[in-house]
């Protein structure tokens, strides 16, 4: 098979090919390394590449599979990790030169589970410094670039994960999401990004941004691959104090394609917020298609949506500043200036305001949970705009200038407050050829329904099959 075609097979297709011994892990890894070599000068998706380690792992996988010892569904499949997932013996920078030589002694839980399932680590992916920004800017290791237009951002903070999956550099990438850092790059790069329920996937061994809002999750080109990856990484971890003991179902079994009778609510407040006309149109069409497929769509109300940025800021910023305080006071001038400003500003939020934010979070959660007694899913845009130009401080939305960070996180922050599972799935392209994302969110630990609806939508459309020009 042509190596480019191999790079655009899904992880599930690769997995079946390896299982049936029609595809070789060595061939798969070589193809992806070649793709990375060809596209990396434009995209800058990786901070650390591991070609020799990956080739050696591929040779081992091939021998094991030929000997009838298949480890799991990811055996022989390339994976990439955002560079805040600790990896034993491989430097983990969190996107900062301050940690350029930090080499963890042990794998984070997610990396260990991927490896146990046979995944082959291709490298560590570029990210917004310390995950503190939604644009994918990084002066230390270079900015990330969008595969659909390299003059535009990949989104962040998991920007390298987004561009790598979209451009066929790696079929499965992992990101983390504190205010939208999985779903924003997924929407802007035209891939699937799943933020699982808080507590479903272990945070152990990840550099925190905000303890109570950090969610690791998969970023892939298909919903099926997100389900496959989640099945491998989800589940209780005693090393994470917030880890749930809830039983982990077979997420692949959710992908029936049948969404008849599924109740989908669309909060009317989403349309009162600034949203690009093409994004709004594309998301409305996606929701209409879900209705054609049998879902029962209704308008609902989430009045506290307008307070979500305030609640998020009141919680996220002090938590981030508390975690990074020593680094900030010692090496603040070595941080990316916008990241430094955010970390410093968090020091000025009082304990009273932090706690008021947590009180408001409870009220917000109650309102959102009541909504999800009326409907099974909430739908809306993942991001209100297509990918902005690199370093643009504001974006134009219908003639109105909106701060880029505020705009990008507008629709994602609510589900970091609630901890609900939320997915971004590609739902169209703008006139400029830039992808857009539909966001679906469900009840805590009901990833099955979120994945079922997203998969049904993806099966009925072909947006995910388009390839970026890079």
């Amino acid at each position: 098979m042509d190596t480019l075609e191999l790079c655009y097979l899904s992880a599930a297709e690769l997995s079946r090919g390896v299982r049936d011994r029609k595809l070789s892990p060595v061939e798969i890894v070589d193809a992806h390394l070649a793709r990375i070599e060809a596209t990396e000068p434009v995209l800058n998706s990786f901070i650390t590449l591991l070609p020799e380690q990956a080739r050696a792992a591929a040779r081992r996988a091939e021998a094991e599979i030929q000997a009838g010892r298949r480890r799991g569904p990811l055996h022989g499949i390339p994976v990439g990790l955002k560079d805040l997932f600790n990896t034993a013996g491989v430097r983990t920078t969190s996107g900062s030169r301050l940690l350029d030589t930090f080499i963890p002694k042990e794998d984070c839980t997610v990396a260990a589970r991927l490896q146990r399932a046979g995944g082959i680590l291709l490298g560590k992916l570029n990210m917004h410094q310390f995950a503190y920004g939604p644009t994918g800017e990084n002066p230390d290791y270079g900015h990330m670039h969008n595969p659909w237009d390299p003059e535009r951002i990949s989104g962040g903070s998991s920007g390298g994960s987004g561009s790598a999956a979209a451009a066929g550099q790696c079929p499965i990438t992992l990101g983390s999401d504190t205010g939208g850092s999985i779903r924003i790059p997924a929407a802007l790069c035209g891939i699937v990004g799943l933020k699982p329920t808080y507590g479903l996937v272990s945070r152990h061994g990840l550099t925190p941004l905000a303890w109570s809002m950090d969610h690791p999750g998969p970023m892939t080109r298909t919903v099926e691959d997100a389900a496959l990856t989640l099945t491998v990484i989800a589940g209780h971890d005693p090393k994470d104090p917030a880890s749930s003991k809830a039983a982990v179902p077979d997420y692949m079994a959710a992908l029936t394609g049948d969404i008849r009778g599924l109740r989908i609510g669309v909060p009317k407040e989403f349309w009162a917020a600034p949203v690009d006309a093409q994004v709004a149109q594309s998301v409305r069409e996606a929701i209409a298609l879900l209705a054609e497929l049998g879902a029962v769509v209704s308008e609902v109300s989430l009045p506290l949506f307008s307070a979500s940025q305030a609640i998020s800021n009141a919680i996220l910023m002090p938590e981030a500043s508390a975690y990074h305080r020593d680094r900030l006071l010692q090496d603040g001038d070595k941080l990316y200036p916008p990241v430094r400003l955010r970390m410093e500003a968090g020091l000025f939020i009082s304990a009273a305001d932090y706690l008021r934010g947590q009180q408001a979070r409870r009220v917000f959660n109650l309102q959102a949970r009541r909504l999800l007694e009326q409907v099974d899913l909430l739908a809306g845009p993942a991001v209100p705009v297509t990918a902005p130009h690199l370093l643009a401080p504001t974006v134009d939305i219908g003639g109105r200038q909106v701060g880029t960070t505020a705009a990008l996180t507008q629709y994602s922050r609510p589900y970091n407050i609630t901890g609900f599972p939320a997915i971004s799935v590609p739902c169209g392209f703008s006139d400029a050829g830039l992808p857009m994302g539909l966001q679906l969110a469900g009840r805590p630990f009901d990833e099955l329904t979120v994945l079922r609806a997203a998969h049904a939508y993806q099966q009925a459309t072909q947006w995910h099959l388009r390839r970026p020009p890079v």
């Binding site: 329920t197 307070a307 305030a310 410093e344 500003a345 000025f348 939020i349 409870r362």
Partner: protein, 64 residues
């Protein structure tokens, strides 16, 4: 709940010093308006009725 009074430069310097920042750094001139903007972004919290609500110190949705 009443709105917070505007943060003055003097109060900002005092808080910066208490937080461990170098109060003589010219960088603070850049930080001051940024902090004012962040504090202003919290204003919607003041109009919310949160009376009687305990803070969700850590969000643990249905952990069992």
């Amino acid at each position: 709940m009443p709105a917070d009074p505007q943060l003055t430069w003097e109060d900002f310097l005092r808080l910066a010093q208490q937080a461990g920042l170098d109060a003589s750094s010219p960088h603070l001139a850049e930080l001051f308006p940024y902090v004012q903007g962040v504090l202003a972004s919290l204003e919607p919290l003041r109009s919310l009725d949160v009376s009687g609500e305990e803070p969700d110190m850590a969000f643990l949705p249905n952990p069992e």
